[in-house]
Amino acid sequence: MGKGKRMKVSVENVDEKSGLYSTRTLRIKVKGKTIKTPYRAITHQELNAKNNIPEDVLLHSDFSVIHRKFTLKEIREKVLGSNKYLSSLIKFLEEYRIRMQHSEFVLPFLQPYESALITDFDKEKYIRLIVRAQIEAGFKYVSIPWLRLPAREFLAIIKKHKNDLGGSYQIIPVIDIKEEPKELEPIFRYVKEVSTTGELNFFGIIHRPVREALASYDLAWEILKEADLCIIMLDVKRYEEDLNDISNIHLNEFVLGDVTSLETIRIFGKKKKKDSETSTQKISRRKKPIEEKLRIFDQEELRVPTLREFMRSSNWIDEISKHFDRSKEIREILENYKEAQGDKEKTKVLNAISRVHEFLASEREFEASREFISNNETEDYIREKATLLRALRSVKGQGHLGL
């Protein structure tokens, strides 16, 4: 890689309106081509969704993200102490690196769950092993997870790994935007400074709803908006119920982040019965209609409503199936969607269709919005999207567009 010799990140345009939106476009030059942001990355789970249908449509993305999260138990008993587990982790990373080989950037993130960071464990050792696993799996971009270490300690670790790994690798420090601004400021200033040398091109930020980290979002934007550094927003929840089911990945485009990647979810066996649940609640949870359970991305509105709501449009089946190569089979599945009620395998297929459809439709929408931002016409774009406008007013303050 040679300290950024093969890639160059530069800010193309910053477009902001106090109290309403903050966004920018980057130009990333790599191997003779230019990639423009904002951009939606593909996650390893979205790639798996394609197989669960199964469907062979191309999910194009220049950024691929493998995001694996660990519980405290896994860290203590497996990551820090089991050769077998680390070996299977390397195999897991390697498999996705191969499947994602056509993306320009394949970025691994191995982050503990937030709950795992409450208790102490050997954090330096965790980072050492996680970095080693990424290198063994053949990655050139190596992430340094956020472990809630004090800024001074975290920066020392970043510097150490940056120097130890040398020019063949590039590190991606990760922070959680929920941390207090005073902890994050030295890190923001450091990554901005190093980005000028080309030694650091990516910076990972774990996403949180804006209202949970208002001051940190504000600080990050102020320090990094002119930085030639690609910000990867990680673990972005699919939709925000409090904001009329707005697609968070599209909302985030006007808050912070150049590349956004959807939340990855791990399922840990069967859910334990909640003691506090009444029998009526248990029944209602079990019998929730498929139309309520399944959500579909609405490209026009930038929302992720329930299937019941999405179905109000008479051509909803066309709207989804048109994105697929095997549209005939997808139509047949959607026409018989009710069969998924109480059928796990069929529900899995419908969920997979919903995820793949969202990726394809959302990627197209990013192509459109990028042009508006690039041309300083962000406001025009937002004006066309009523839900987005309302959500931005809510999270960024009380800006008005005269509507």
Binding site: E95, I98, R99, Q101, H102, R326, E332
Partner: protein, 189 residues
């Protein structure tokens, strides 16, 4: 000595030299041979290898079944038969080895693992480039797009896809029970 006509399991017929010569004279000229299909698949994304023999075999199968058949081309039939991991062509397997022996492709990594890599060489690129350029532009785009899309699926994904849409090829499969058959439009699966 006169050799009796023989037929192999994949319906390949064996002729004596004289019979073969007569048959060849009768045959019409093909636009694409199996060797061309294989080289084109690798050429479509020449900087990236295809990982694993199973993956290579299934990609040639899908290229033949789902793409080339849509175009007005005379293509050599790779004669896929149901085998241990779904559709398999003895011709494709032999052609891959021959292309490697002749220096048109490189095979790297541990054999018969998912890390075994099939890469087109400079010699292979020179060999197929002209033929590739003569292909219909839509076909070229389709091959390029699908090569990436199939690679994205991984070996398990492409097997599931092939078993779902070509169930007739899974009768001999060692792993046919691994992939559940889900039928829609008939009540629960």
């Amino acid at each position: 000595m006169k050799i009796e006509k023989q037929e192999l399991g994949d319906r390949t017929r064996i002729f004596s030299f004289e019979e073969a010569r007569k048959e060849l004279q009768k045959k019409e000229k093909l636009d694409l041979l199996v060797r061309d299909i294989l080289l084109m698949l690798l050429y479509a994304r020449r900087d990236k290898p295809v990982y694993g023999r199973t993956m290579l075999m299934k990609q040639v199968f899908l290229l033949f079944e789902e793409i080339l058949k849509k175009y007005d081309l005379k293509v050599q039939n790779p004669k896929f038969v149901p085998y241990y991991y779904g559709p398999y062509s003895f011709t494709v397997a032999k052609v891959a080895e021959d292309l490697a022996f002749a220096g048109y492709i490189r095979i790297e990594g541990k054999k018969n693992t998912r890390k075994e890599r099939f890469i087109i060489t400079e010699q292979g690129i020179r060999e197929i480039e002209e033929k590739w350029k003569k292909l219909n532009e839509n076909l070229r785009n389709e091959i390029e797009r699908h090569r990436i899309a199939w690679d994205q699926m991984g070996t398990d994904g492409i097997l599931k896809y092939v078993y779902t849409y070509y169930p007739e090829f899974k009768e001999k499969s060692k792993i046919k029970d691994k992939y559940k058959d889900i039928k829609w439009g008939r009540g629960k699966g």
